[in-house]
């Protein structure tokens, strides 16, 4: 029933798609972490307007379906702003802002879960806000944040498949392209699923391991 020769014959296209997927996963996770750090710290400040701004950002990107965000950034935003946005930039911005909102929440929750006594102790020896965060609070918070960060990053890799909707040639885009001329969608999409499994299952195990080693030093 299955004829996997369509895969071996078009392995080059899938390979290109996989590289695109990995590339977008990596750069949007990095940009998302930067956004998450800024928005997370903003939400932890004591200045009300800033906190509100952070909350608006998080709720905005967290509650709009990623597909809508991507389509909007690619098709609608250029018209309103009168600028030309390539599909790569649209994909990068949409995915980064989206995952950044989740990372911000993870960071905020992680920092808030650190015992307030730690802040007291760090403050009492004369540490500034920056020193407290860098030396005392964030190192403890990051350990607690590893499992949710890993989980969100795994979701992020799967979310990159939505890039195919704005014609970025990622793995899924290549798959639909291959099936359009081979008429073998079953084999092609099965292959895509297997590729994701092969990459993400080891990462899940890695994050479990990190979680355990993090818990040990707690």
């Amino acid at each position: 029933m299955f004829d996997f020769s369509v895969i071996t014959n078009n392995i080059g296209l899938l390979w290109d798609g996989l590289l695109m997927t990995l590339y977008f996963t990596a750069i949007t996770i990095l940009a998302g972490l930067a956004i998450g750090l800024v928005i997370g710290l903003i939400q932890l400040s004591t200045f009300r307007p800033l906190v509100l701004l952070g909350q608006i950002y998080v709720e905005f990107f967290r509650n709009i379906p990623l597909l809508v965000t991507l389509l909007w950034v690619y098709y609608a935003f250029p018209i309103f702003a009168g600028v030309n946005v390539t599909k790569f930039w649209a994909g990068f911005i949409g995915l980064s802002c989206y995952v950044g909102s989740f990372y911000a929440e993870i960071l905020r929750a992680g920092v808030q879960s650190v015992d307030p006594g730690q802040t007291d102790a760090a403050t009492a020896i004369g540490m500034s806000y920056g020193q407290r965060m860098r030396r005392i609070i964030l190192p403890q918070a990051f350990r607690k944040m590893i499992p949710p960060l890993a989980g969100q990053s795994i979701i992020q890799m799967k979310n990159t498949t939505l890039l195919s909707m704005i014609t970025v040639p990622d793995l899924l885009y290549q798959a639909s392209y291959i099936s359009s001329f081979t008429y073998r969608p079953m084999e092609v999409y099965t292959a895509v699923g297997v590729i994701f499994l092969i990459i993400l299952v080891p990462l899940t195990f890695l994050s479990r391991k990190l979680e355990k080693s993090g818990a040990a030093t707690k």
């Binding site: 102790a121 760090a122 009492a124 020896i125 004369g126 005392i136 190192p139 403890q140 030093t217």
Partner: protein, 286 residues
């Protein structure tokens, strides 16, 4: 623990330099007044113990000294530096965060829950302040930290993490951590309340030794026997005010204030309960 009346009397007799001056400290949480105008001065080398019922404001007052709680009004001077000044309903004296942190590091604080940094070893905990805040070179700081650990009888635990230490050991590391900043005054917030009973003694012993070495100390405690032992002056707080203060003999044995009488009375009751046992023990050993 043996009582040495000499040391306490000597220290009290020496008119030292003023290390701490609190004036008219008020603190409100929402519309609840926790402190209602507290004046307190502490001389160099003096050991002041704050007592009072739960909710009387002892811990809040202690946390105001290094601005972990910001008073609503009043003024605080530590070692001739104004760390806080705000008149009731009036203007505040602007003091930069940097300046607050600098003056704050002249106080050392020991907490009920120890609050050691769990991701650092005992030694790293002690070195953190001098290296990160004072930017001192690591090697001399390490030597000094080891000296402090030795003083606390913990040199063999230098490389252990807090979770590998008992509560009493953790609290002694916390005392060493505060001491590493070479503070002018040490603040203790119920340092033995979270400890298992058999570990209380080792922490008290370390504190008594610290007091004998001439350290200026402000201690919040529920252990009146310990207060009697260590204090030069006992301050009784009641409903956010200093109700009575004086030498421990006077405050704890001859209280004047009604509320203090009943507070101390409860302590004497439990001591009376123990007396027959203690006397029996005494007769046995004699």
């Amino acid at each position: 623990m043996t009582h040495e009346p000499n040391s306490a009397a000597e220290r009290a007799a020496t008119p030292g330099k003023e290390v701490l001056r609190l004036e008219r400290i008020c603190l409100d949480f929402g519309n609840r007044s926790v402190l209602r105008g507290i004046d307190l001065t502490v001389q160099e080398g003096e050991v002041v113990v704050l007592i009072g019922a739960s909710g009387s404001g002892k811990t809040s007052l202690l946390r105001c000294i290094n601005l972990l709680n910001t008073p609503t009004s009043g003024s605080i001077v530590i070692d001739d530096d104004v760390i806080f000044q705000q008149q009731a309903g009036g203007a505040a004296r602007a003091i930069s965060n940097q300046e607050v942190n600098r003056i704050r590091s002249k106080t050392g604080m020991v907490f009920q829950q120890f609050n050691l940094f769990p991701h650092m070893t005992a030694l790293q905990n002690i070195m953190e302040g001098p290296v990160t805040v004072k930017k001192e070179a690591a090697d001399p700081v390490r030597r000094k930290a080891m000296d402090l650990l030795r003083m606390m009888g913990l040199e063999q635990h230098a490389e252990k993490y807090p979770r590998q230490l008992s509560g009493g050991q953790q609290q002694r590391v916390a005392i060493a951590r505060a001491m590493a900043m070479q503070p002018k005054v040490m603040l203790f917030d119920e340092p033995t309340s979270a400890l298992d009973p058999e570990l209380v003694g080792e922490v008290m012993k370390a504190m008594v030794e610290l007091a004998r070495s001439g350290m200026t100390m402000v201690i919040v405690t529920h252990e009146l026997g310990f207060a009697f032992e260590i204090a030069d002056r006992v301050v009784f707080l009641d409903e956010g005010l200093v109700a009575e203060q004086g030498p421990p003999q006077e405050i704890l044995l001859h209280p004047r204030h009604e509320r203090l009488k009943s507070f101390v009375g409860r302590f004497h009751e439990s001591a009376d309960m123990l007396r027959p046992f203690l006397e029996a023990k005494h007769a046995e050993t004699a």
